[in-house]
């Protein structure tokens, strides 16, 4: 009886859903499931900014390299939540309802929203700094469920050491970070520990939104000898304002994200978010080729590279030694 009850409820519900779509006056055809051999990869991120978009592009290129071409045998769907976790939940519902083959959640809330749907579809998270702490996977080892992914935890201690190596007589280091971002909490704690060990003083200026980055940097430049930019979404989105304030006072900026060297940072020892995307895409490909996500291990990005900005160095009056220059993957002149 319960079965027939739930079935008739199903039917009534589907009629209601259809009626609503018609009533809204916008009957939009579904874009999914065009042909039988086509696979669907649905990607969602919390907000659009260069680093997270680079992750998306990396995923796409990795799929392409493995023989999944968009429009041919691949349907690639991308949605951003415009910074709102509630919309992240709706996007997750949409993806699960369209029965995509693999779901990808870029950033912590987007990945959490996908998992909270309770779906059995494989979920790949990306650019999540602390996936275990965020409840996304119980462990970084093969976890047995349907979730696996790539963490973007940067080598913070090595980055702090790089500051000591590049900037002469550095005593205090400033950090601009959004206290509302889970990844930044982890990174700032790691930076404090590394600085304590290496004998530096740390000042943290909070920026709750991109518009506050300018003011937070102004607070720092009077107090510190160098500024360290962790992979904070807010600081990354307003990196130009941070660099312009720091450069005007001749305070060097050392970043965790290589793309920021082109924006004027002195140096970055980190990964390119595009590589985070490529490693994420590799996981997606192996799942599409039949691997069980429960048997794959989650990992932290492996490829880290040193980027230097020679133009910024000469403006700051810093000489880059030859062995530093030799170890750099790219020097911007």
């Amino acid at each position: 009886m319960t079965v027939s009850l739930s079935r008739s409820f199903n039917r009534a519900a589907s009629r209601l859903a259809r009626a609503t779509v018609v009533a809204s006056g916008l009957v939009l055809a579904s874009t999914f499931a065009a042909s039988a051999q086509q696979v669907t990869v649905a990607v969602t991120s919390i907000v659009e900014h260069p680093a997270l978009n680079a992750v998306r592009d990396g995923i796409k290129d990795s799929l392409e390299k493995a023989g999944y071409t968009e429009g041919d045998n691949l349907e690639f769907v991308f949605e951003t939540a415009q910074g709102q976790p509630a919309i992240a939940k709706q996007i997750a519902d949409q993806f699960v309802g369209e029965e995509a083959d693999v779901l990808v959640g870029i950033s912590t809330p987007s990945a959490q929203a996908l998992i909270s749907t309770g779906t059995q579809i494989p979920i790949v998270f990306s650019a999540v700094t602390d996936p275990v702490g965020a409840g996304i996977v119980p462990t970084m080892d093969p976890a047995g469920g349907n979730v696996v992914g790539i963490s973007d935890l940067s080598p913070v201690a090595a980055q702090i050491a790089l500051i000591g190596k590049l900037v002469p007589d550095v005593k205090s280091i400033g950090i601009v970070a959004n206290p509302g971002e889970d990844n930044s909490r982890t990174l700032v704690a790691l930076a404090r520990a590394a600085a304590l060990e290496q004998g530096f003083e740390i000042y943290v200026a909070a920026a709750n939104s991109t518009s506050q980055v300018y003011q937070a940097t102004q607070f720092l430049v009077d107090r510190v000898d160098a500024i360290y930019v962790p992979t904070d979404n807010t600081a990354a989105a307003a990196i130009e304002s941070l660099i312009s304030v720091a450069n005007s006072r001749k305070i060097p900026v050392i970043s965790a994200e290589t793309s920021q060297v082109e924006a004027g940072a002195l140096a970055a020892a980190g990964f390119n978010y595009y590589d985070v995307g490529v490693e994420t895409g590799d996981l997606v490909v192996s799942i599409l080729n039949g691997a069980n996500p429960g048997e794959l291990a989650s990992s932290t990005v492996q490829r880290t590279e040193l980027y230097l900005n020679a133009r910024a160095a000469s403006a700051l009056g810093i000489t880059l030694s030859d062995d530093v220059l030799a170890s750099a993957k790219e020097v911007i002149r």
Binding site: S6, L28, T80, Q82, Q90, G97, P109, Q112
Partner: protein, 306 residues
């Protein structure tokens, strides 16, 4: 739009329904333009999540969340009534301050509740036993809670105290002339309003599985949109209908976002989402007012006959 997306939107609309009532109370009944909900909504989610993770049961956690919201609402009202700070500014100050309080309460900006026993768990178990798919049981659970909350609020609005509050909102001078202590009524009304917003936040954390410090952005916009959509479509007379209308408005707004998420089908970019959502809401508001909607109706009915 798939069934899953549709019921996801209905579920989220129901989760946000107490918030719609909260905005109805502050903006429409008390005539107090209150932006505190941008703070009390995430505050509710933070208190509920931190309490559950800290080992309290989900009922206590949800009640504590409402209390935290009530305190936030009271502070806004107190700043306004006692110190004469403009209501908008008073509410902005409380909203901004609550961001720091939220980070203190959670100890971190994002607190997951995935795999925890929450208010949703007993409903999910019941749904499993009855053979109802989780797709509906989450929405039904939210509906059940929202019906109880809405009934309590409506019942309250029809009591003597409720009538007094409506009087204070409509004509504070007259209320004062009749010997009503308007300050106390506004304190209580604002506390109730923000307790409801915090309840929405607590439901969000438990249904969606995490609390996040960024959850508050845009909350007041959802609330106002819901109240206005509800009023335009239902033209409610009386408290019962006003409450139902604003909740219906919230569900419609969420369904509009779910429809707008299909933007790629009409060649738009994901970043066009907000624009498309706004357009759908505008259409929903003006369609019933145009003369040609009647012609479409006749056309549709003729089509059905043929």
């Amino acid at each position: 739009m798939s069934l899953f997306a549709f019921f996801g939107a209905v579920e989220l609309g129901l989760i946000y329904a107490p918030l719609a009532i909260a905005v109805l109370l502050s903006f429409r009944i008390l005539h107090f333009p209150d932006l505190t909900v941008d703070g009390s909504f995430p505050l509710g989610s933070a208190v509920a999540a931190a309490s559950i993770v800290g080992g309290l049961d989900y009922i206590t956690a949800t009640i504590l969340a409402c209390c935290a919201g009530a305190i936030a609402g009271f502070i806004t009202a107190y700043l306004n009534q006692r110190f004469g700070i403009l209501h908008l500014l008073a509410s902005i100050l409380t909203m901004v301050a609550s961001f720091s309080v939220i980070l203190r309460i959670m100890g971190r900006p994002n607190l997951p509740l995935l795999n925890q026993v929450t208010l949703l768990t007993p409903f999910a178990t019941l749904g499993d036993n009855l053979g109802i798919s989780p797709l509906y049981s989450k929405s039904l659970a939210a509906l059940f809670i929202v019906i109880i909350v809405a009934s309590l609020v409506v019942a309250l609005l029809y009591t003597e105290w409720g009538v007094v509050m409506r009087g204070v909102g409509e004509n504070p001078k007259m209320a004062r002339a009749n010997g009503i202590r308007t300050k106390n009524v506004i304190y209580a009304g604002m506390a109730l309003s923000n307790a409801l917003a915090a309840l929405s936040g607590a439901l969000f954390a438990q249904w969606v599985g995490f609390a996040d410090a960024t959850l508050g952005a845009g909350t007041i916009i959802y609330g106002l949109a819901a109240v206005i959509i509800g009023e335009s479509l239902l033209r409610p007379r009386g408290m019962w209908l006003a409450v139902i209308a604003c909740m219906g408005g919230m569900i419609l707004y969420r369904v509009a976002i779910a429809v707008a998420l299909n933007v790629d089908a009409i060649g738009l970019k994901p970043s066009d989402l907000n624009l498309v959502t706004a357009t759908i809401v505008v259409l929903a508001l003006i369609l019933p007012k145009t003369t040609w909607h009647r012609q479409i109706k006749t056309m549709l009915s003729r089509g059905r006959d043929a």
